[in-house]
Symmetry: C2
Subunit: 189 residues, 2 copies
């Protein structure tokens, strides 16, 4: 095994995702998704937390929130929050993330997605840890809002993580809870 | 080892907790704390999710939210949410939870708390799993809002879980993220 020099980022995708009628939509960015997931991503040492939305007004809103906590009043009020928000960025689509990583690292990132159901190519959390430990790639984990990522994105991904099984047949976690659990499973010491 | 017949509940405590100046206060209940944690608790098979607040207006508010999703329009709109909210209850203090459990089970529950720093009596997640697997007690996990549970509650608890270590020295998770991670560590299959 080589030394683990892989790095990782996370992206919260607001388009293309499904609504409850399985139509592809752009969902709304929520303030708490930005904060909760930024704090998680920072705790588990991720490089970047990307908010993906094509909607111009939403991009402006996210930038305003980031600026408040990293440059504005929030930065002096709460330094811990500044450290979390420092890693947040907003992109208009997933390709923009891939391009940024490729420009920086000289090669495309590997894409990991999570899905509520099991796919043929689903990978366990322990196997995913091993793959990352033996790699110098940059991994981008995509999480869908609404009723989940569009199917084509899941099919195009390099890795599909197994669904989180709790201890019941009920599995309707919020995306915030799912992110917390998955980062803990993949990146805890 | 006896068969695991232990059961568990969770409580989100809004009093007595600290504010950022280390004063004891009653924090405000938030709608998302109710939903996110209810969905998590339901996923991991917990018996009850108690919201603890002594403030009468907050009790009324929580009851109204629960009723909306279990009896009202929300129940027909979203059955998954009904199943989560069905386990939510509101109590004026921690003693009221202990009394309810004792009345039901014939003995007092064991209290587990989480704390951001390590205590002499801190227990690891794997040890806590073993303790519960070999017991027929009911375990109540207390989570503090604001800047954490009052010190006396931590000192009175039967078990103090180790702080969550991510993979950095940064550890400022939201209570929602901390609950998700801890339930996964203690109750995942």
């Amino acid at each position: 095994m080589t030394k683990n020099t892989s790095t990782a980022s996370i992206a919260l995708v607001h388009y293309p995702v499904y609504n409850r009628r399985k139509e592809v939509i752009a969902s709304a960015v929520t303030n708490l998704d930005i904060h909760d997931i930024a704090r998680c991503a920072r705790t588990y040492g991720l490089e970047r937390y990307y908010i993906v939305t094509p909607l111009e007004e939403q991009v402006t809103l996210v930038k305003k929130i980031i600026k408040h906590w990293t440059d504005g009043y929030g930065a002096s009020y709460n330094d811990d929050r500044k450290k979390a928000l420092d890693i947040v960025d907003v992109k208009e689509d997933i390709d923009a993330i891939k391009s940024e990583v490729e420009k920086k690292n000289g090669k495309k990132p590997k894409i990991i997605v999570t899905a509520a159901k099991k796919y043929v190519k689903s990978i366990s959390y322990s196997s995913m840890r091993e793959v990352m430990a033996d790699s110098d790639d940059h991994y981008v984990m995509l999480f869908g809002t609404g009723w989940g990522l569009e199917r084509a994105i899941i099919e195009d991904a390099d890795y599909v993580l197994e669904p989180i099984s709790g201890s019941t047949d009920y599995n309707h976690l919020s995306v915030r809870s799912a992110v917390a659990i998955i980062l803990d499973r993949l990146f805890s010491q």
